[in-house]
Amino acid sequence: MQKGYFGSFGGMFVPELLMPPLLEIEEAMNTIVPSEAFQKEFNAMLEDYVGRPSALYRCPNLSKKLGFNLWLKREDLNHTGAHKINNALGQGLLCRHMGKKVLLAETGAGMHGVATATAAAMLGLDCVVYMGATDVVRQSHNVRRMGLLGATVVPIESGTQTLKDAINAALRRWIADQRTTHYCFGTAAGPHPFPTLVRMFQSVISREARAQMLKKAGKLPDYVVACVGGGSNAIGAFNEFIPDEGVQLIGVEAAGTGEPGCHHSAPLNLGTPGVLHGAMSMLLQTEDGQIEPSHSIAPGLDYPGVGPEHAHLQDCGRARYVTVNDGQALSAFHTLSRSEGIIPALESSHAVAWAIENAAEIPKGSDVLVCLSGRGDKDIGIIEEYEAKKGC
């Protein structure tokens, strides 16, 4: 019987050798995670170590300029600087409950790698992080952070040398080391049960934000906006609002340079259904089913696939997925930095950009909640290089 489907997307398209460890995680997800002991331990860690609840902040200057209330869910204020820690700590704790000693992770921008290395250090686990060789170079700051935290970073030289190949390599390693190792998958994609497990740990974003909106604005937001790469911050920001029909859910994909024929990272808008990394979802692929390279200025969005639940939410019409290009994201990056004193990650800048670019269509006085998934310190090198090239 098929498992882990969201409508016609999801599933477990993995070698048989990975089925036992995946079913073991499914079992742990259904028994250990809901237990009182686990929840107590996890919530205490979120509060005391991560610094949750994260702030909900109404941007006074931009709200005035845009004509609607721009609310930021400040995941950038979490320990390690992004939403990734919510999932890494949850899975790290689960790993320990399952009696495994090693956390294995893939990383693109390095944020999930840093979060996993952090969780491993804190929980007394070993940590191995797979990272494409290209990403190792362009995110060297995060590579050094992982080293300081005691993790081993393995650069992957095969294929496109980016996130997609890091996932391939991590899956291969996991086949061999499954008895001692938990694969701490970083986004709401991959084979079942990862999309559900990651959503469980990231839903804290919308659980808090929903209550905070009711308290501060006295109502639910009209829009919830989040960037979508694999889709973990987005599914976390959307989940508790899904039953609230009046709340529009907007996922923002990266359009890359935005020029026709150029590579981008927008499989929900421009891809077709297919199977990669264990799940049926929307993909960037050729007619022959070969995976095409992706591109975005934001390394955390640079992925040719997307979590299956997003494909389903698009399919059934509950969420809408739009695109923002590199230039628009960069412009929003500067706008938020200068107007509010908040330097956003380039990934999160895509979500901010959607709100700014669509100000004319958003009714005056609306409440727009943007998930600010991470902080932008990591991106300063990329931005300097990009702007030097553009001559601006």
């Binding site: 098929q2 070698p15 294929g159 086949i175 692929q285 089913g289």
Partner: protein, 253 residues
């Protein structure tokens, strides 16, 4: 009886293990591929696995992955493989199987795949990222076309899953000898013997052992526990080092 079962049983009847070489489609290049395929066949291969290249082969080690990427670079597609095979239908004594990841098959269209495999003389598909649960609907579409889905099992497959596979399996069952990816190993884990003893009575069809095998001596200890041997990376390396399909088969027959 499935053609694949028949070929393996015929080899066993003459007192030997069936030999199943794996050759990536279009390797070492598009022209030489057909020459080497014919040489493997003439050299006595009982079943031949033809690899369908994929950009992201998660069950493969570096040797097969590189071969797969090289083939893609040369423009090898599933359509090309099937089309060229249908032009040569009936010229191979060996049973033919395609081995490839699910997405290229899915994009080709499963109904079209069933038809074109039959027209090309392909008797089976090995899809390493299609476990039991996901294989069911695919097997249903292929049933009736004479194309079997070959199941893979391994050292960590628990009893309940083995039982389910024993019901679903057709042609032969592929036992993966290592907890790992394809690629040559010096030796195979000792627990393989024990696991094969558990598996053997559950499957009323031939068992092929694959992954990690490069020399006949490696499979000698398995005796009657297995019926066939799959050799992949070692053949790729043999061809890269200047060998031929013919000289490769001499080591195995």
């Amino acid at each position: 009886m499935s053609i694949l079962t028949e070929r393996i049983r015929a080899a066993n009847a003459s007192g030997r293990k069936a030999v199943i070489p794996y050759l990536p489609g279009g390797f070492p290049d598009r022209d030489r591929f057909w020459k080497e395929l014919a040489a493997l066949d003439a050299g006595g291969a009982d079943v031949i696995e033809i690899g369908v290249p994929f950009s992201d082969p998660v069950a493969d080690g570096p040797t097969v992955e590189q071969a797969s990427l090289d083939c893609l670079e040369q423009g090898v597609t599933l359509a090309w493989i099937l089309n060229e095979l249908s032009c040569r239908k009936g010229t191979f004594k060996a049973g033919l199987v395609l081995m490839g990841y699910y997405n290229p098959f899915l994009q080709y269209g499963l109904e079209r795949l069933a038809m074109d495999c039959a027209a090309a003389g392909v008797s089976g598909l090995i899809i390493p990222d299609l476990p039991l649960e996901e294989a069911e609907p695919v097997a249903e579409i292929l049933s009736g076309s004479g194309v079997d889905i070959i199941c893979l099992i391994g050292l960590n497959t628990p009893e309940d899953r083995l039982k389910a596979y024993a019901k679903a399996a057709r042609g032969f069952v592929y036992f993966v000898s290592v907890l790992g990816t394809t690629g040559m190993r010096e030796s195979l884990p000792e627990e393989v013997l024990q696991k094969l003893d558990e598996v053997r009575p559950m499957f009323n069809m031939p068992i092929a052992l694959g992954f990690g095998i490069s020399r006949p001596e490696q499979v000698a200890p398995f005796g009657d526990r297995i019926d066939a041997v799959v050799i992949g990376s070692a053949l790729v390396k043999h061809l890269r080092d200047g060998g031929t399909g013919e000289s490769f088969m001499q080591g195995w027959r």
